[in-house]
Structures are given as structure tokens and as C-alpha cells.
């Protein structure tokens, strides 16, 4: 089954952002894995330190309209990989329904949730000097 999920990536100071759209289900495995790799690699290339890449990966779900249990499994896999690489994962843009699913599954114990990308970014970069 062709994936109905798309992902774009961008690099911010200290963070790599993966903007997801469409449906996050089992068919999104390659899309999400490739986006993660692209995001951390791009961030590492732009980092003054060079090799380690971003300390934080932001998953932006604002344009996602469907997540199922196999999509949850993909998010678990991304979180496991990020933890192994000592990166933090945060998420934003989830609807109330999917925030509750992140709570029920305990994903929100490990992934801090923000209402939107601006909120996540301002938290990550801290108050303006």
C-alpha cells in the first residue's frame, strides 16, 4: 500500500524538525525513517561541532489527520532510536484526541508535547537575550 504520509525536514539551532502530513500508519515507515535520517544528517552538517547532530528532534503533527496503532509503533521506533543517540524528541500540533492517545500509551512521558511548532521552538531556543 502506498504511503499517504509525507515528511519535510528543516534545521533550527539545536533542533531538527520533521513536519509530517497525511496519515501516519504502518505504510509510513520508510517516509519517517528517511526523514529522521535526513533531519539529523542535515543538522549535523550545519552544526559548528559537526558530527553529533541535533540534541532535539521535533515531530510536527499539525498537518496529520490520522494516526493508527502501527503509526504509534513507528513513533516508538523513532523515539527508541533517538534515545539511543541521546537525542530528545518533542512533538507539536497534535489534536486533543491524539494527545490523549500519547497519554494513554505513555508516549507523553518521553515526548514533551507542545500545542504548535512556535511553542516548541521558543521552548527549545529559550527566551530572547
Amino acid at each position: 500500500m502506498a504511503s499517504m504520509c509525507e515528511a519535510t525536514t528543516k534545521v533550527l539551532p539545536g533542533a531538527a524538525v520533521i513536519e509530517l502530513s497525511g496519515e501516519v500508519d504502518g505504510s509510513a515507515a520508510a517516509v519517517l525513517t528517511d526523514a529522521y535520517q535526513r533531519a539529523v544528517t542535515s543538522a549535523a552538517a550545519k552544526s559548528p561541532a559537526g558530527v553529533d547532530g541535533p540534541g532535539t528532534v521535533v515531530l510536527d503533527f499539525a498537518a496529520v489527520d490520522y494516526i493508527n496503532s502501527t503509526g504509534i509503533a513507528l513513533i516508538v521506533s523513532v523515539l527508541a532510536r533517538a534515545r539511543a543517540e541521546r537525542r530528545k524528541v518533542v512533538a507539536c500540533g497534535l489534536s486533543a484526541h491524539y494527545r490523549e492517545i500519547f497519554d494513554i500509551t505513555r508516549l507523553s512521558d518521553f515526548i514533551e508535547l507542545f500545542p504548535d511548532l512556535d511553542g516548541a521552538v521558543s521552548q527549545l531556543t529559550g527566551p530572547a537575550a
Binding site: 496503532s69 527508541a80 486533543a96
Partner: protein, 170 residues
Amino acid sequence: MTQPARTAAGKPRRLDTFSLPSEPGNERLALARVAGTVKDLGLSEARLEKLKTAVAEATMNAIEHGNGNHAEIPVEVEVSQDGDEIIVAISDQGGEATAGDAQAGDAQAGSAPAEEPDLLKKLDGAQSPRGWGLFLIRNMVDAMDITTNGQRHTIWLTMRTGGAAHGEHV
């Protein structure tokens, strides 16, 4: 067909029945059709979303674990109303194997005992990242029953039109 015992007086009113080929992705069709059937029955938006997720997960289990993705074996869906309860019955031909496979979350795990999903174990690699389906369903609806009659395996999802499921804030 064996149906779970119910205490509500009167006979359930059948609202819709339909069947779907067991093809990956068809759970979205079940979700949309059930949502359309129950949209005017008084469920809050939050509870409708929960029912939609439960229907999608149960249908996905039926397609994948019950009918083995064999398109020619249909998944049958029945929507009924019994007093303030909306009941969605989703049937496959997987017999006793359906629930165990669905809980374990992968095709090889059919013979293994069903294990509650544990995120820490999944993050540590001690459990498959999958296996969330039945867990999600149980936490979405007011009641979940499973019956088996020969090869016919049915999951019954009950959602009350006025209630709050599992810690839901109303």
C-alpha cells in the same frame, strides 16, 4: 451468533450492516461509514473520535490478523443502538487466533501469549514496537467484548451516548 449479555431492556435497533474486502487500508472505509451512521446519535466530538479509532483498529485487526489480508474473505460490520448504547460489531473468520495475534502485534507471534504493551520494554527492545491495537481499543470505548463462534470471531465495541470513557474529561 453469540452476543454478549446485555441488561438494557428492549431489542437493539440495527442501523447499518456492511462488509469490506480484507485489504490493508480498508479500515478507513469502515471508520468513515460508521462515523456517518452514528453522527446524529448524540456522541460528543471527542467520543466520536474515540469510537472512530476503535473501529479502525478493530477492522485493521480483522483484516490483518483475522482474515490474513485475503481480500476475498470479507470483514463484516454491524452498527446498532440499544438504548443509550451504540454497538459496533466487527467480524472476521480468524477464530480464536485473531485476538492473540492482534495483541502480540506481529505475524510470528500468534503462538505467544498475549502481553500488555509496555512502552519501556518497547524502547528497550524487549517488546516489539507494535501490538497497540487491542490496548487502544479497550481505552477508547466504554466496553469491549470478544466472542468466537467456530471460525467467526467478533469484537463488540460499546459506546454510550452520554457517558465518559476511561478518565475522559467532560
